[in-house]
Amino acid sequence: MTDHLIKGARVLGGDPADLLVRDGRIAEVGTGLDAAGARVVDAAGLVALPGLVDLHTHLREPGREDAETVESGTRAAAKGGYTAVHAMANTDPVADTAGVVEQVWRLGREAGYCDVHPVGAVTRGIAGEQLAELGAMADSAARVRVFSDDGHCVSDAVIMRRALEYVKAFDGVVAQHAQEPRLTEGAQLNEGEMSAALGLRGWPAVAEEAIIARDVLLAQHVGSRLHVCHVSTAGSIDIIRWAKSKGCQVTAEVTPHHLLLTDAAARTYDPIYKVNPPLRTADDVTALRHALADGTIDCVATDHAPHPVEAKETEWAVAAMGMIGLETALSVVQEAMVETDLLDWAGVADRMSFAPARIGRLSGQGRPLEAGSPANITLYDPAPRRRVDPTSMTSKSRNTPFAGLDLPGRVVATFLRGEPTVLEGKLQ
């Protein structure tokens, strides 16, 4: 394994320092370091961050390899500065057995672009009726710790309670897709001024908030860890803030798209903006940014959801929900949080690496950039602005809602345990 000497990087946005990467670990951090035989990476002006960790990625394999594969999705992740992703369970077949999660985990190892941690389904077939074999998935080679029926809400209160209780045996967490199903039948867009004007069936904020309120009470009652996926409304934040103040073990994520876009984007009926939960209002965006800044929301998770072109080149109502996000996440967070002075780079490191690794119980990811840590490092140039071009994506899919926007920053290099997966902005 080649040693790398990263010269002059601003570690978490601080003063320039050199990082010596040897044998997969950070051997030394200091100034004026020298190492014979090491490949020198000039990182002047670049911000060094711990390798990013995504708690919420749809890799689509097995089942929808036309949209994404573990290999293409992890290549996209590496391009976006990620060294670990959590692969959601709503594949076909569903990741609800040790066999499927081990397959996904193994595909990730073979691809080698970033660590793939499969998320296990909470219920069999994500049908919401019977618990999946959570313990078997936890004990498998994939060592699953995050369980989610994402795409569907575990709406049955008893099933949710039991899942929360059961995963305590292996320090797992249930990641809830909070969506009251009856309130959102056929729902297309945030219920409000836009849905009223556009004649699209509304997805009311209360449908998310009611489930979160129930779940934080359940988690508190049984003393379990709850994670809330893709929080999208100001009201949800108030509930999570209250729950945390009462000592509830709840964590939450927000997606890049909910930090930047609003439901006004739906005005053209272009389903590129169709996502679940839906884009909300400008007031929600402001509340989400502040909640991420003050820690009420713990982390950013992409909800990277690739879809083939034909699933989006349709009428709004029949289009697939979801957007890709791995390759733009850091730029969007810079735009929404750093350029607005809500987070500094240390804050970004926490929300995009330390916190998600902690929630997912990943021991080798989300570690401080100091001697002895595994060398998972992202080098990021915050200076250039670029226009987002869907055709330049590494993901197999093109459904980015940021197409045509000018966003700041560029991932220059990503190191996974000392091996560069991206160097000079190019996949290795």
Binding site: E191, L198, G199, Y269, E310, T314, E315, W316, A317
Partner: protein
């Protein structure tokens, strides 16, 4: 005018008045023995209907034919569309055939906007999901103008399932553009949550609004709505929001009663009201052809005058 007519909001006040004045002019030929003008000769209009709507389709068909356009009726039923062909592929097919105008009726809100991305011709929305039906609003405004004159300051009451009504959305937008005062009346369940952002008044009390109305427009209420608990029973709906003879008597002398059709007699409108002298329901159908002729002429006709060359020449 814009190239497409998809929302009533696409029409400025001047545009709307131009359409209405043109419709008035074109209505003259309905009284002639030869009801045909050469204006759109050589132009092709496709009626692309993904939902059954014989009334609207034949209205557009008559309008296009009276302007001498070639009309192709493309019904989704029995076509490749019902076998899963996408809207995009259908659009590309029409494009290859050289449609100058596409009149689209579709069950999905916003489908005409999607279509407009894929065809070069003008797109006319003939009703999309629960979004809009702008030519219905134009024919309604045309009907009101003929009966009542200028609409500035006129009080228009629209009653019924506003939440699911494309007719209500288009009417609110167009009537606001024309300076009328619109009041929507429905049970609270049948308003969108953000209706307060619309340029109109909202009331739950039909009886309070009727005496101040110049126009009362009743919307069709689908009986299935009660299964989703929008209202308890059809009878209760009818008692609280139906227009019967007693309620009609509360209207001012000059007020008219409208309905976009098809009616549920005995539900939102009583038979004696529908058939009364105040009712403009049959007129609306006739006026629909004139209003649609005006729209097709203004979107497709270019600079030629609508009337001027007699057909006999």
């Amino acid at each position: 005018m814009k190239r497409h007519l998809i929302s009533a909001a696409d029409l400025s006040r001047d545009d709307a008045l131009l359409v209405l004045d043109t419709a008035e002019e074109l209505a003259q030929i309905a009284g002639r023995s030869i009801k045909k003008l050469p204006t759109l000769r050589g132009r092709t209009v496709v009626n692309l209907f993904f939902e059954d709507s014989t009334r609207t389709r034949i209205s557009f068909e008559a309008a296009a034919k009276r302007l001498s356009a070639d009309v192709i009726n493309f019904s989704a039923k029995g076509s490749s569309v019902s076998k899963g062909e996408s809207l995009k592929d259908t659009a590309l097919t029409l494009e290859a055939m050289g449609a100058d105008g596409v009149v689209i009726r579709h069950g999905a809100s916003g489908a005409p906007y999607r279509l407009a991305n894929w065809v070069r011709g003008s797109v006319v929305n003939a009703g999309d999901g629960t979004h809009e039906h702008p030519t219905q609003a134009l024919l309604d405004a045309f009907t009101m103008r003929r009966r009542l004159g200028d609409l500035e300051g006129r009080k228009i009451t629209i009653v019924g399932d506003v939440l699911h009504s494309r007719v209500a959305r288009s009417n609110v937008l167009l009537l606001d553009t024309l300076g009328a005062d619109v009041t929507l009346v429905a049970p609270p369940t049948l308003f969108p949550v953000a209706v307060d952002t619309w340029p109109c008044q909202v009331s739950y009390d039909l009886d309070a609004v009727l005496p101040k109305s110049d126009v009362v427009m009743m919307l069709r209420v689908q009986q299935e709505r009660m299964n989703a608990a929008y209202f308890p029973t059809v009878r209760e709906y009818s008692r609280r929001y139906g227009l019967d003879a007693a309620r009609m008597a509360a209207l001012p002398e000059h007020a008219i009663v409208m309905h976009p059709g098809p009616m549920n007699r005995g539900v939102e409108i009583a038979a004696e009201v529908a058939d009364s002298a105040r009712s403009t329901i049959v007129e609306q159908v006739a006026n629909g052809v004139s209003a649609r002729m005006a729209v097709l002429y203004l979107l497709l006709g270019g600079s030629e005058p609508a009337i001027g060359t007699e057909v006999s020449q």
